[in-house]
């Protein structure tokens, strides 16, 4: 079983427009609503590949129950802690003409110390059923930056491999507890450890730093279709040669799902894991719909992925 933690889930409201003009009247062509949040997206991608997954985190109010219901319908097991305040919503403006996506993200509801204590208790129990857990996304107000570090310690105590995928201070603090794999989320600021990720050498330097700071495997996304993966003694460059990308939302989460799937298998092979993960991300980015790719779609994309040792 693959566990995913989403501390700040959301209802994603996707508004389709044709040529968005800021400070003008814009007509919405279509509206879709779906459950979102990085961890939840990882669970969806894992389930899309036919694997068992359990989603943990905070939910609240009617929006929270909507998220839970949608996940269960997809075959994802849930064990969320329900808070008193409502789950946030995110607005995604999808421009059909330019192909651009604009994300407007709410901060999320306030979490209390009691909520955190209950979440840790759930996490401890659920880890008895998992072989890999992913810790992804932003933190809602009230959650201390060392939360991912605490959860990594609990998971390690229970013999579960951890994947950390977040940004800022919570990423740095989480690394101190030595996760198995770590990938900084560079969507807001294209910078980690003070290194601006522009060229391949920047990504290599940052990936090595992730490993030096405690992770067994460090992953840095260089561009949309390129990644650098480092371990203590090896570096890989992975890219895809299929450039007709339709939708980048969720592609990074599909990449994490790919790593989680291969790492949960008994005979894991890192080079295979890299290839499979890139293929998950590519398959996700070729879909117009919000649903995640099937195992067959992922396997079809393997032919477009190249991995080389540097």
């Amino acid at each position: 079983m693959i566990g995913t933690v989403t501390l700040n889930p959301a209802i994603d409201v996707i508004l389709e427009v044709n040529n968005l003009k800021v400070n003008h009247y814009n007509k919405v062509l279509n509206t879709h609503t779906t459950s979102g949040g990085k961890g939840i997206n990882v669970s969806k991608a894992v389930r899309g590949c036919g694997r068992e997954t359990i989603a943990i985190g905070f939910l609240g109010g009617g929006r929270g129950r909507m998220v839970e219901e949608e996940l269960r319908e997809m075959g994802i097991t849930t064990n969320f802690w329900h808070i008193e305040k409502k789950t946030r919503s995110n607005m995604i403006i999808s421009d059909k003409k330019t192909g651009q996506h604009t994300l407007l993200s709410e901060a999320g509801p306030e979490i209390t110390e009691y909520d955190l204590e209950m979440l840790k208790s759930i996490f401890y129990r659920v880890m008895s059923q998992c072989s890999v857990v992913t810790l992804s996304g932003s933190l809602p107000p009230g959650v201390p930056v060392n939360i991912y570090g605490d959860l990594i310690s609990i998971a390690k105590e229970r013999g579960v491999k951890t994947i950390l995928n977040t940004s800022g201070e919570q990423f740095i603090k989480g690394l101190e507890k030595k996760p198995f794999l770590a990938k900084p989320d560079l969507r807001e600021i294209n910078r980690v450890f003070g290194i601006k990720i522009v060229k391949e050498k920047d990504a290599i330097k940052a990936a090595k730093e992730v490993v030096q700071r405690g992770a067994e495997i460090g992953v840095i996304s260089l561009e949309q279709e390129k990644d650098i993966i480092a371990t203590r003694d090896k570096i890989w460059f992975a890219e895809t040669n299929y450039h007709e990308i339709v939708n980048l939302i969720g592609a990074g989460d599909a990449l994490i799902a790919g790593f989680a799937i291969v790492l949960s298998e008994e005979e894991e092979n890192l080079e295979e894991a890299i290839k499979f993960s890139m293929s998950c991300a590519l398959a996700s980015s070729l879909r117009e719909e919000e649903e995640f790719s099937s195992r067959e779609e992922v396997e079809r994309c393997l032919q477009y992925v190249y991995v080389k040792r540097l």
Binding site: T77, T78, N79, F80, Q129
Partner: protein, 144 residues
């Protein structure tokens, strides 16, 4: 089955349990140990029966209001007690590989609302009669 493993530890305080039931809008849940192994089941029914033992008689009597005041006092008195004091210990469960007919039979024969579903003795979901009816209806539609 419902793929939800919302549960409580046997050491969970009664007040916390009522908070969970209220937030999740459910009337009962499995009680587990730290390894997600089911050790009991608790619902509002058990709580009321334990805190107000003769409640079934009271509901049919004329003194419901004053007995509810007594129930409120009892609940507050027991609020810090662990739920293992109130839960049903020898509970009926099904394995995830068992079929819906067995699950329906167990639910009806034992007059219970929910059955915890286990895999290797660990909780993986809950099945209710409503779920079973839905499966039977869906299968019948396919066969027609």
């Amino acid at each position: 089955m419902i793929r939800d493993v919302t549960s409580a530890l046997a050491s969970c305080k009664l007040a916390d349990l009522i908070g969970i039931l209220s937030r999740h809008k459910i009337s009962g849940l499995p009680v587990v140990n730290h390894n997600q192994e089911v050790v009991g089941f608790i619902s509002l029914h058990e709580i009321i029966r334990a805190t107000l033992p003769n409640y079934l008689g009271i509901i049919n009597s004329d003194s419901v209001l004053c007995e509810f005041i007594q129930l409120s006092k009892s609940l507050k008195e027991y609020s810090k007690h662990p739920i293992e004091e109130f839960m049903i210990k020898n509970i009926i469960t099904v394995d995830e590989n068992d079929n819906e007919v067995l699950a329906a039979d167990l639910l009806i024969r034992n007059k219970i609302q929910r059955l915890p579903v286990l895999r290797n003795r660990k909780l993986v979901g809950i099945v209710t009669l409503t779920d079973i009816c839905r499966v039977l209806m869906y299968n019948n539609e396919n066969n027609d």
